[in-house]
């Protein structure tokens, strides 16, 4: 019933899903590309129905990044069908492969690579099947528009050919991809398939789902971490119109009502009736960086190069700080749970349906096989926000109200005070220059909490913390190099003979933290690229030339040169009064997309307000599948990172988080977004896809900070570069 309703709700033109089956246990086959190595069965990725329409299955989720559209293009190109004949089924534990999380700019590298290769192999199998039927060599046949055609004009449809293929067939190694020169769909800016519904009020999000018999829930969270419920008289609320149930399990408190507004009114009343003890005290916000620096940490040396070169003649050092920050999704987290008999279905905007299912199974003490988690889009998340927690809420409340779909949505202040933040961080850099202005020594340390506390276990869902037997969060672990967590991008790509980089991992978490777009890369690139600017100044060198002097990777040099050229980089050219220019570069994770950013800013000396005037960004994402999709991601990443860099800072007191709404956590609004952000792409046909979604975050921060330093003639090393902080610095 529910699946049919959902289908109806989200019906798109195109094929029905054929042959439902659960993915088998993953066999490991290292030779297969992308996620084919963990799910080698071709039918786990591509199915062809009787009409010859194509269904693509991906374990990744659409998060507004356009992955559904890009994957459509890959299959349409390699299979020679029109994009309109391709339907993409995204993350669903009942239908798709387990591809872990949709995170870390991995979707194109993992899932895209699997799908492009699986599509090409399915096409070649269809051609072989046709060759056998027609008694002709496969090489003489061609494919177009879902048919295999012989030189004599005979042709067979994919639908009839596919019937002969075994669904258990595994992918085999080998490159069957089309010559990129022949591409008709890949490399084109195909319009996003999800946008028309989103601009006309179609049902596009989990928030928009309306299942038959659905009821509405609201949670009453404790006032702070660890607070427990002392007293509650719920009789009055239970008698309110529409209220079906007050759910209380230990300190976990929620209300379920027929209508959404009734649930909101009842929630407020219940919040007023509940008495809590004080939770654990939060650290003093005024001294948070000292606190972080002083907490016990584990030093992990991630780079230690030593060469026998003459010591530098000039040394420079700096310390950079970034505050806690919020994902701040515009739509608070939401999920729907439905318990039917002993089976649970959860519709969720989680980034990882399989790990979320594992955590929910542990929370409810149910077997995973009895739980299905289906991804449905939510508001953009930019990492681990409240999505998984809301799914945990929906699961608990579905158990409390079986046989009826229970929709739960958080309130704004709940999203703001309970989401896992991106951690505050400290970095320290020192370097030495030789007489020729070359860096000969580089020492760098980064102090940070974990950058992922995703589920996993029941302790990663906040609902569990309030249950009669509270769940305990797993001990945080650092994400190892080469991707890294707090130390993501902590190793610069610059050539320096002596280089030591140490990641100081701090297990104790004063505030709840987890993954946010870019993880530690945002802070490390901000620090490294700010420091490069400071070193170039010390060396009396041009910003762009100084970077190129220390860089040999030709693709890195290409993006830097392109950004500089398009921006019209000329340090000698005069700018308007109180304007400045800045530059920064990074390759995300040192293994994904390359990005170089040049910006011009203005600084108002009276108010301290920084405005970004214009930006030129050059990006190399490997082979480009959808140019406009990449531009949209990079432009959006630039604006978002500008907001982090210029205004954002979590506020709290020792008693509670005080950034409860957009008044307490301002972000950039229309009047302060840049005048222009232009993205320039370097396409690399035939080269691997490089994840792009997070590539702009770090370089944007550093380019802005460098431009501010140029404009203001002083360096502020603590983020954000807010009017208050800038004004204080300018008048000091």
């Amino acid at each position: 019933m529910t699946e049919i309703s959902r289908r109806k709700l989200f019906a798109t033109a195109g094929a029905l899903v054929v042959a439902f089956s659960l993915p088998g246990e993953a066999e490991t086959n290292q030779k297969l590309p992308g996620s084919l190595s963990s799910e080698p069965r071709l039918s786990g990725w591509i199915r062809v129905d009787a009409k010859g329409d194509i269904t693509v299955f991906t374990g990744k989720a659409e998060l507004g990044q356009g992955i559904r559209t890009a994957l459509t293009q890959l299959a349409a190109e390699q299979l020679d069908v029109a994009p309109a004949r391709v339907t993409v089924v995204t993350a669903d534990t009942g239908q798709t492969a387990n591809e872990g999380y949709t995170a870390g700019s991995h979707s194109m590298q993992d899932s895209g690579t699997a799908i492009v290769n699986a599509s090409a192999e399915v096409r070649s199998l269809l051609v072989e099947a046709a060759a056998a039927r027609l008694g002709l060599p496969a090489a003489s046949l061609s494919t177009q528009d879902g048919r295999v055609t012989a030189p004599d004009g005979r042709s067979l449809g994919y639908g009839e050919l596919a019937a002969a293929l075994s669904p258990d067939r595994s992918a085999t190694p080998g490159n069957r991809l089309k010559d990129p020169k022949a591409h008709k769909v890949m490399g084109q800016s195909l319009q996003r398939v999800d946008i028309p519904a989103k601009v006309t009020g179609g049902a596009a999000y989990v928030q928009d789902m309306r299942l038959p018999g659905m009821v509405h829930a609201r949670i009453i969270r404790p006032p702070s971490y660890g607070a427990t419920l002392l007293e509650l008289d719920s009789a009055k609320v239970e008698a309110m119109p529409g209220v079906l149930k007050v759910v209380r399990e230990g300190s976990y408190l929620a209300v379920i009502a027929e209508k959404e507004w009734q649930a909101v009114v009842a929630m407020r009343s219940l919040a007023g009736a509940a008495k809590w003890n004080a939770g654990r005290a939060l650290p003093d916000p005024a001294t948070i960086f000292d606190t972080i620096r002083a907490l016990p940490s584990r030093a992990i040396v991630i780079r230690d190069d030593q060469a026998n070169v003459a010591a530098g003649t000039r040394s420079v050092s700096a310390r950079y700080l970034r505050p806690y920050g919020m994902h701040g999704s515009i739509g608070p987290s939401c999920a729907i749970g439905l318990m039917q008999g002993d089976s649970l279905t959860v519709w969720t905007h989680t980034q990882g349906v399989y790990p979320d299912r594992q955590a929910i199974a542990a929370l409810l003490k149910m077997p995973q096989a009895k739980i299905r988690c289906i991804h449905v889009e939510g508001s953009g998340c930019y990492g681990h926000n409240g999505a998984d927690d809301a799914a945990g809420d929906a699961a608990l409340l579905a158990r409390a109200m079986p046989e009826r779909p229970v929709r739960v949505q958080w309130m704004r202040e709940q999203e703001n005070t309970w989401e896992p933040y991106t951690p505050a961080m400290v970095t320290e850099a020192s370097a030495a220059l030789d007489a020729s202005g070359r860096i000969v020594d580089w020492q760098y340390g980064v102090w940070s909490n974990a950058h992922s506390t995703r589920p996993g276990g029941a302790g990663e869902l906040i609902a569990g913390w309030s249950l009669p037997e509270p769940t305990i969060p797993s001990a945080p672990v650092p994400i190892p190099q080469p991707e890294g967590g707090g130390d993501r991008n902590a190793i610069p790509l610059y050539n320096v003979p002596n280089m030591k980089v140490v990641s100081h991992f701090i297990p104790e978490m004063p505030l709840r933290v987890s993954a946010m777009r870019g993880l530690g890369a945002y802070m490390n690139v901000f620090s490294i690229e700010s420091f490069m600017h400071e070193l170039a100044e010390a060396a009396g060198a041009d910003q762009v030339a100084f970077r190129l002097k220390h860089l040999s990777d030709p693709r890195a040099r290409d993006v830097i040169n392109l950004a500089a050229e398009r921006f019209g980089w000329n340090a000698a050219a005069p700018l308007a009064k109180d304007h400045g220019r800045g530059f920064a570069f990074a390759r995300y994770k040192n293994l994904a997309a390359y990005a170089a950013v040049a910006v011009e800013v203005s600084v108002d000396r009276e108010s301290g307000l920084v405005r970004v005037i214009r930006a030129d960004i050059a990006v190399d994402s490997g082979e480009v599948v959808n140019p406009d999709g990449i531009r949209n991601q990079i432009q959006g990443g630039f604006v978002q990172s500008s907001s982090w860099t210029l205004v954002e800072e979590l506020r709290w007191s020792t008693a509670a988080i005080t950034s409860r709404d957009w008044g307490g956590y301002p972000i950039l609004r229309f009047q302060n977004v840049p005048q222009s952000v232009t993205v320039h792409l370097i396409d690399r046909p035939g080269l691997p896809f490089l994840g792009t979604g997070e590539a702009a975050q770090g370089p944007t921060a550093a380019a802005i900070a460098n431009a501010v330093a140029d404009a203001a003639k002083l360096r502020v090393r603590q983020l954000p570069l807010s009017p208050t902080r800038m004004k204080a610095a300018l008048s000091a």
């Binding site: 946008i195 028309p196 209508k259 739509g331 508001s379 432009q635 709404d661 229309f670």
Partner: protein, 166 residues
């Protein structure tokens, strides 16, 4: 019992006297366009039009709206036949997650009905109450200019699609 005119249709509804319009639109009328974002008048995700003005439906009690004209994004067009602004947002691909977009379109519609050829600065001032977390602002501004031009009033919008550099 109240009578509400939403997108030209009169609905007779029996609702709580304090219920904000947003919950009537979503829960009683099954409309998806207006979104819950904050419930506090701080983000604009819930923006709809009331007698030609953009309002926060999360703060506006439904009970006072008898006899007034309410418009939501559903009233501007459909997937098959998008309205001018909706088409401009599609043409400019002015969405990432898209959660803020219906509210953006309604606030822009109110502007264009009042001022068919707004300047960049006027667009930014009008759109100031609405938040986008994905950073789609630049494209939203271009889409509004494009719609303004399609309605026959404004200068050409800035080129939105740049060529791939090979």
């Amino acid at each position: 019992m109240i009578s509400l005119n939403v997108n030209g249709t009169i609905h007779h509804l029996d609702v709580d006297p304090n219920i904000p319009l947003l919950y009537v639109l979503r829960d009683e009328l099954g409309l998806n366009g207006a979104k819950f974002g904050c419930g506090l008048g701080q983000c604009g995700a819930c923006t709809v039009m009331l007698d030609g003005q953009a309002i926060f439906s999360c703060l506006t009690p439904a009970i006072v709206l008898e006899g007034r004209q309410i418009r939501t994004v559903e009233g501007l067009g459909t997937v098959e036949q998008p309205g001018v602004l909706q088409q401009a947002f599609i043409d400019e691909q002015a969405a990432q997650c898209g959660y803020c977009i219906a509210g953006m379109i309604m606030r822009a519609q109110a502007l264009l009905e009042r001022n068919p050829s707004p300047t960049d600065a006027e667009i930014r001032t009008q759109m100031q109450p609405n938040l986008c977390r994905c950073g789609t602002h630049m494209r939203i501004i271009v889409a509004i200019k494009r719609a303004s031009q399609a309605m026959g009033h404004a200068a050409l919008p800035a080129a939105a699609v740049k060529e791939v550099v090979r």
